[in-house]
Amino acid sequence: MTKYTSDRLKILFEKLRSKDTSALGIFITAGDPDFDTSLKIMEGLPEEGADMIEFGMPFSDPMADGPAIQASSKRALEAGGSLKKTLDMVRIFREKNNSTPIILMGYYNPIYNFGVQKFLTEVIEAGADGLIVVDLPPEEDEELCIPAKECNLPFVRLTAPTTSNERLTTVLQNATGFIYYVSITGITGTKDVPIELVTHAVQNLKEHSNLPIAVGFGIKTREHVEQVTRIADAAIVGSEVVNAIANTLDANGKAKPETIQTTLSLVRDLAAGVRGK
């Protein structure tokens, strides 16, 4: 069995803690709006201030995502995106960058279809650093969470405002990497992050776990990033970034010359909000 040994997430969070700062995670969908443009955006992210990349594996039925990420998933699939191509992009990215953690984020069906063991082997070999599989709650840990754990590959858990402390115990049982706190009750990209509630929730999570805590869903502006990174170990921005991609496309949904630069400028602006940077 191939084992994960790179520990990029751990190294990142240790480094940030020692510098008393937090991370900016940027979500993009692999292959949105096409393979080459998406790869260039991905490759440009670290330099603009993204500390980790949440790399969306496109799926036809993204149940927990709002219109922006649904649309980005659809663009990626229409441009020929697939799980195999997502892993190819990770491989190419790793040729030049060996430090920025990549968390693959998506839904279970393409993985199940690919084959769980084959998937884990390829994920580790390609150089990704963790998994977030939205539709695999602790009830289904046997599917992928436990096999990932056996390879030492981080399997990141989601918790939400509706997660009770009793439930939290179950959720945290097999959690590794970091905890992803979903800041709103709803889908991605619909509401703004409610800072006060998030502050309490993050404090509560810290009492239950030593893992770093990332906050996502509803973080849209530099101010949001500033507020969230003051209380959490990472702020993750998704819908706003894929919206930026969408807004630059031509009438046929194809990338324009400015697509890459406009998207990366937004990331630079968001990164300026990170506490201590």
């Binding site: 709002g66 219109p67 799980l83 393409p110 199940y112 279809n113 009830e139 939400a160 997660t163 439930r167």
Partner: protein, 407 residues
């Protein structure tokens, strides 16, 4: 040997976590899990409470109009000149389909939970109409998610829902049909956890839905068992029902799973399974995970869900309830299919010979029966679930029948 003496029953699934063999389960986002757990608990409590079932029984008798008749379709029997054909007349239920059996049950669970607002997805609109109806009766707010494509092809049902006070959300994501309506309903539910109950319309979704919906639909098979014993003094030889998500079918089948009865589910073959334009998840799909459970799905080589096609909006779903996937793999139930064209012919035939305009969905079941009944002996008894009436389909069907020279 009576079925009670059979040690190995097929009627005990799912297990505690909602698994039918490898199928079923709870594949949903953590954001949704607290809601699902709440529904699980409420369902468990209701299921074990006799007063819950007596309340439901009241509405079954006095509101839905149960039991529905078991009717010997004598002119069709004569026409085919083979086996004897009975219809279980669930199209006579209030609102015109079997969907209300399930909705009444879930609405009562929702009321017990103190929920005041209801969400539903709908394809043909029958489940939406049934839900809007129960909501009017119980003074609950009702929001129905319906694919924009289906809003167009099922206009009469859209009008009925509006009249009953429901709010319709046309869904334009994906293929704008039933699967997308379900995605959207789930998304919406996550944001309304406190007040809303989601009434799923078929035996799909995360546990406990496949079990709960089945238990509410089992009244179809339980009545059939009594009625056929009264009419024929024995159990039928064959049961046939159409399959969208599989709720009317499992409702008829489940009480007979341990009996010596041949059971056949009919999926929609659309233009033909070989064309790729169909809704036959078992015949043309493979196992995967969607909408909270593992089951057979129509999907491409990358595991992306593909669009289903059927002339019948109620069968136009790329998945199937997990219990059917299990009954398919263990071989207890045979799954076959019928094309759009065959269903249209059965639709016309049934209308002319029996004075019963069937919904396009059960017309698929009848279409398959037409291919086997002639060669079966005269004392062979088939029971088909006439699970809905066809008024909702006239607008779509009449021009096609005209072209076929059937009008």
């Amino acid at each position: 040997m009576s079925y009670k003496e059979i040690a190995n029953t097929l009627r005990n699934a799912p297990d505690e976590n909602g698994h039918f063999g490898i199928f079923g389960g709870q594949y949903v986002a953590e954001t949704l899990m607290p809601l699902i757990i709440e529904v699980c608990d409420a369902w468990r409590a209701s299921k074990n409470d006799p007063s819950f079932w007596s309340e439901l029984e009241y509405y079954r008798q006095h509101y839905i109009g149960r039991p529905s008749p078991l009717y010997l379709a004598s002119r069709l029997t004569e026409h085919f000149n083979g086996a004897k054909l009975y219809f279980k007349r669930d199209e006579l239920n209030h609102t015109g389909a079997h969907k209300i059996n399930n909705v009444m049950g879930q609405a009562l669970v929702a009321r017990r939970m103190g929920k005041t607002k209801i969400i539903a997805e709908t394809g043909a609109g029958q489940h939406g109409v049934a839900t809007a109806t129960a909501c009017a009766l119980f003074n609950l707010e009702c929001e129905v998610f319906m694919g924009a494509e289906d809003v167009k092809r099922q206009k009469p049902n859209v009008d009925r829902m509006r009249l009953l006070g429901a709010k319709i959300h046309p869904v334009t994501s994906g293929s704008s049909t039933l699967k997308d309506a379900m995605n959207e309903a789930l998304r919406y539910w996550v944001s309304k956890a406190e007040t809303h109950f989601y009434i799923i319309g078929t035996v799909a979704g995360p546990h406990p839905y496949p079990e709960m919906v089945r238990d509410f639909q089992c009244v179809i098979g339980e009545e059939t068992k009594e009625q056929i014993m009264a009419a024929e003094g024995r159990l039928p030889d064959t049961l046939v029902a159409c399959i969208g998500g599989g709720s009317n079918a499992i409702g008829l089948f489940h009480p007979f799973l341990d009996d010596q009865v041949k059971i056949i589910g009919v999926e929609a073959a659309g233009y033909g399974v070989e064309t790729g334009l169909h809704a036959a998840s078992l015949t043309g799909g493979r196992p995967g995970v969607l909408h909270g459970n593992r089951t057979y799905l129509l999907q491409n080589e990358d595991g992306q869900i593909t669009e289903a096609h059927s002339i019948s909006a109620g069968l136009d779903y790329p998945g199937i309830g997990p219990e059917h996937s299990w009954l398919f793999e263990n071989g207890r139930v045979d799954y076959v299919c019928a094309t759009d064209q065959e269903a249209l012919e059965a639709f016309a035939l049934c209308s002319r010979l029996e004075g019963i305009i069937p919904a396009l969905e059960p017309a698929h079941a009848l279409a398959y029966i037409a291919t086997i009944i002639k060669t079966l002996p005269k004392d062979h008894i088939i029971v088909m679930n006439m699970c809905g009436r066809g008024d909702k389909d006239l607008e779509a069907v009449l021009p096609l029948l005209e072209k076929m020279g059937k009008l």
